[in-house]
Symmetry: C2
Subunit: 166 residues, 2 copies
Amino acid sequence: MSDPVVPSATPAPLPTALRAPESRTAQLLLASRLPARMAWVDRDGRPQVAPMWFEWDGAELLLSTFAGSRKLDDLADGSQLAVTIDTSEFPYRSVKMSGPITVEPSDGLTDSYRRAARRYLGEQAGSAWCDALTGQVQVLIRLRPTRASVSDMSSMPFITEPTGDR
Amino acid sequence: MSDPVVPSATPAPLPTALRAPESRTAQLLLASRLPARMAWVDRDGRPQVAPMWFEWDGAELLLSTFAGSRKLDDLADGSQLAVTIDTSEFPYRSVKMSGPITVEPSDGLTDSYRRAARRYLGEQAGSAWCDALTGQVQVLIRLRPTRASVSDMSSMPFITEPTGDR
């Protein structure tokens, strides 16, 4: 295992929006193949944003990045991240979360990344993708959300009145 | 017109990735119905991210938000924004840009928002959407990119070798 479980002494409770049982909207988004769009603050105090594969383990959002990537110039234990996982088509659904991270080195691809690759690309293509990255070293980012919100526009009255042009 | 054109005295040249003629990838993304995922830094120095409808006018990214929205507690002329406009499915394509903004009040919905609503939802539904927002007041955010990059994974050799499981 390249992703050791680091138990937190007294884990803070999850924000209501992510507490089990999650809403159907949160469940769908967190199990989806949508990339997370991850925002952080760089060393000059400027915003940065990037799409990232993710994995939700029920308590933390796991994101893997390659050792030496520019993100890691900006991120360390305790850095704040904000993430949106949201659909690109109407009716828009989103889950947003933010909080502090921990950063864990690994000695190759992280197990979380290997699982994510299979989820996003399918079993065979995901494995082939990881095989093509043999020798690369990753870092695991664990985001423990302290704030979260869920939005689902499918409940808006607007779309129960189709106008016929879509 | 609720979006007055404010000429910039000496506009800086656009980053290469966005200079006309834009790459085919940049053109497709900037004309697409994909939401921009917009990142900024809040007043506590923490990252924030939200999906936003956008419009690209060839030099600036136009984003509209509602007067009184929490974003506007954090944003003012000169604030930095970072945006990614990227596809949710493999092969991933993205355009990222960042730079300073100007913030312009308007006296209702912005013209840019009305055009964006029709692009994202279609002519009829977009107009109906805006009609339902009659009386709301928006603010126009103009992002003038000083950095930009384009990525297109469809050129990766990986996907020319289908594995048959997608």
